[in-house]
Every structure is written in C-alpha cells, then in structure tokens.
C-alpha cells in the first residue's frame, strides 16, 4: 500500500493526516493487510456471514412518545451553537 493510497483512504475517512503519518501508515497497513490475507484461501462457499454472535430475540414496546431530555440538554455539549441550534460551516 503506497503513500498515495493511504492519502486516498484518509480522504474517504475524513481524516487529515500529515506526510509523515502517511508514510508510517503505509508501511504498517501493508503489514497488517498481509496478515488479513491469511483468511483469503479459506473455502467459505455457502456460509452466511455472521453479524452478531448470539441470537437476537425481538421484543416490542409501546409506541409512545417519551420526552427524556430538554432541548438544552441536547445542545449542552455543542462546541458552538446559537440558542438551541448547532452552528455549522456553510453547506450550500
């Protein structure tokens, strides 16, 4: 995995990385991905991929509206806000 590929993945992951990090990650990720390839030749034909390890038992609850929080609780941790609104960079 070269530096360019690492930079492309960083862009997909919305992560700013430095040149030095790109170089370091490319060597490390190469080694880790080689390790991942160990499973490549296992015959998995017809095997359903597992997404959760124990059986999920469905359950139902009443469809009721419950107000657990006040709007100000929900915005209390915002880095920047205007009243009860989150401030964001312009998106249009």
């Amino acid at each position: 995995m070269d530096k360019k590929a690492v930079e492309h993945i960083a862009k997909l992951a919305r992560l700013q990385i430095t040149d030095a990090e790109a170089v370091e990650f490319s060597a490390q990720m190469e080694k880790i991905l080689q390790n991942f390839q160990k499973i490549e030749n296992i015959n998995t034909q017809g095997v359903e991929p597992m997404v959760t390890p124990t059986e999920i038992e469905s359950f139902w609850r009443e469809d009721q509206v419950v107000q657990n929080y006040k709007p100000e609780d929900m915005v209390a941790n915002a880095p920047d806000r205007a009243g009860n609104l989150f401030k964001v960079p312009p998106v249009v």
């Binding site: 993945i9 700013q16 312009p90």
Partner: protein, 490 residues
Amino acid sequence: MDLTFASLSEISDAVKSKKVSAKEVAAHFQKRIESLDSKLNAFTSHNPNALKDAENTDSRIAKGEDVGLLAGVPFGIKEMLCTKGLKTTAGSKILSNFVPPYDSTVVARLKKQGVTVMGKLNQDEFAMGSSNETSFYGAVKNPWDVNRVPGGSSGGSAAAQAARLVAGTIGTDTGGSIRQPASFCGIVGVKPTYGRVSRYGIIAFASSLDQAGPMVSSVKDAALTMEVISGHDPMDSTSSQKAVPSWSKNLSTDVKGLKIGVIKEYMKGGLDVDTEKTFSESLKTLKSMGAEIVEVSVSMSEFAVPIYYLVATSEASSNLARYDGIRYGYRAEFPSLAGVELEDFYAKTRGEGFGQEVKRRIMLGTYCLSSGYYDAYYTKAGQVRRMLTEQYLAAFRNCDVILSPVTTSPAFKIGELVSDPLAMYMNDIFTTSTNLAGLPGMSVPFGASSTGLPIGVQVTANHFDEQRMLNVAAALESVSPVKGKKPHVI
C-alpha cells in the same frame, strides 16, 4: 474491618448494618486515591460529589429504605461508560469536554444498588490497544512494576483495582480488554456472554464484539457485580431477555466430573516459560480436584486475530464517523467558518482529535469497507467468524469449559511494543476468538513470573453458561498459589 481489602458484600453488609457509614468508606478510598494514584495514573477524573452521594446512601439507610446489593461500595468506572454529569472521554482528545446527560445502563444499575461512583478510569483511546499507552491522558502504570504496562484497554480499571484504590471497577472487552489487563495486574476480570450486559450508553467501538464486565478482586465479587449489571434492557436491541441467575449464591468450587477442554491448536508453543508453567499447573490442579482434561479442536482459532481486526476496524470506522465536531466533542479551531469546506472541517477536527492508533484503525476499517474490497474483507471475515463460532459450539459438546492462557507473556515494558502494531495485536491471540463467538470468558490469577509479575488463566464457557465458568474459576482461586499476594505499590 480492613476496608482496603474487604469484599464487596463485606462492605455492603457493614454499611447496611451501620458498622461503618457509606461516607466513611468513600472517604477511606478517596484518601487511597489521593496518596497512590500519582504513581499509577489510573484515574482520569474524580467524582466531586462522591462523599455527598455516599451520604445520600446513609440517609436512605437511616430511613429504612432498601439500598441494594452494593450499598456504599466504592466503584471506579472506565471512561468508555457514560456517567451523568461526569466527564466521559473514552481516553480521547475528541471527547475531552464531553459531559453525558445520562447514565449508561451499567452505571444506572450499579447506582440503583447503592454503589458510590468514585471517578472515571483511564483507558486506551476508544478502547483500542493492549497496553494502555494510547490514552490521550497518558499511560497507566502497572502496580506490580511501574515500568510495565497494566494491559489494555481497561488498564486504568485493572491498576486501580489491583492497588485497591476502589473496591470494584467496571471495564469493557472488545477483544480481551478486560481479561488481558486483569491477568497483567493479578485481578479477576469477566467478559460476559454477548448480550448479557446492555451496551446502552457505552461508547461504541465494535458493536458486535463489545461487552462490559466486572474487574474485581475475587470470583465472588465478580459474580455479584455481574448479577447487578446483567439483564434485558429495552434500550439495547441486542440485549438478551434470558433470566439472570444468582451466580454468587450458586458459586461452587466442586469441579468433580467436569470436562475441561484444552484447544490443541493453542498448544503449538510460543508461550513464555512462566505462562506455560502457570497454565499446566492450573490443568494439573483441576485434574487433582476431580475434573477430566479433554483435548478439543478449534482449528479456525488460528485465524482469530485477522478476523478480529477486520471486524473490529470495520465496525470502528463506522461507529467513529459520528465524531464530526458538530454536536459534541472537540472541534478544530477556525478563525471563521465562512468559506470553510465541510469536508475540510471534518478532516481537520478528526485529524486533530484522534490519536495515532485510532486513526490507523479507522483507516484500516475504511479500506476494508470501501467499494471493491467489502466482500473480500468484511463479508469474508463474517463468514470465517461463523465457521469459528460453529467450531466452538461443537467443542462445547465435548467439554464443559475451555481452559487456556490469557496472553502469551506477563506484562511487558512500557514502550516495548508500541511501534509494532502487528506484534501488539498478536498479544490478543487467546482472547479475541471469545468475542468473535460471543462466548463468556474470564481471567483468574493463578501464577507469577520469576520476577513476581502476575499471570492469569482464562476460563471460557458456552453462551450464557457463566455459572460453570465462574465455578471453575472459583475452584482455581481457592487453591491459587498467588492468593493474597499484593502489588509492590501498596
């Protein structure tokens, strides 16, 4: 009563019978934290209301109210679990200012049973690490040798418990993060069956692997804590509706006739001498107590580490997408938001907010989930995961529990493996498959290295069969050659 080394029920009984007040207990442990934690860095923050909370328990007792199974027992909580009004950082800069408006279900249940929350415990950033060196708040030191790691990612919980800065702690385990630090620090650590304990309010790392569990000083304390935190929670759709047994009341050290499985593929070598000796002693001991040792095969266990890292990094890259600097957490500084591209805003915030290990894992996960690679990596890992799980279930048709080492060696030195992530990942070889298959597993102290470092043994059981796992651990604990040994720092 020697409060420092008292069991959870001893403290709770003493508080309820007014032999000691919850406030006195909290003050005792607060003093220990103040005098010892500077050597360990186990705590990231203290609960400023701990004494007031304990006082509240005392006044409820005075009024004759039922204050629960853990009345006045001081607990430390891993940074991964949300605590109402108390900072919850996941060991990361990106959550350095996050104060949850709610308690995670685990914490709410502990509080309901009268626990006094003393503070939050250090951990690897977002629980990613096997050494507790990736925390934004600095490395935690092992109380048995402060030049060594306490293990990760629940290293703060393990160190605080081993040094008895609190009476009990909670950790989380995604690939061994409760069991490996428990082994490194000489305490008992349990990862329950997936679904036993609600994940509501626990900061998500890899949702299909994460479980919270107790990290305490004895098997009985572990059983009791499990009873408090387990059980169905409508807030977590993967939480099981199975009834919670009275594990602590049914605890038995009788292992006569039990079949103890040993995975033959694990016995290929590569263990350090003391770890190997501890493990074979544990088998001999169980045999002498009347158990039968049988060989079982889980050939897919060879692939546990690659499957684990494929699944964990993929799920992590998805879970950690929520840290965008908008609704909570750290936001990169911009002189003005005018003209800032949203993508650059996210990238700068996340680039500054996450540490190296977290970035590396997000990148790996993003790569594995990206178009063209998804089937080759994530789907394939899910298929092999099912094959591995089926092999485990087949093994449990021939044995009651499986015994194995927890790690390949005792605690390593701080900095020793930090630049070689793959070597660090291989450290998780005995623990990861338990999470992949959703099985309960625990570490119980049973030996020591020639230099006096603790070594644990891992007991794994079938889904929801925690009682048998706890019983085998209790049997080992009852005759453990390291019983009663205390770390140097205390």
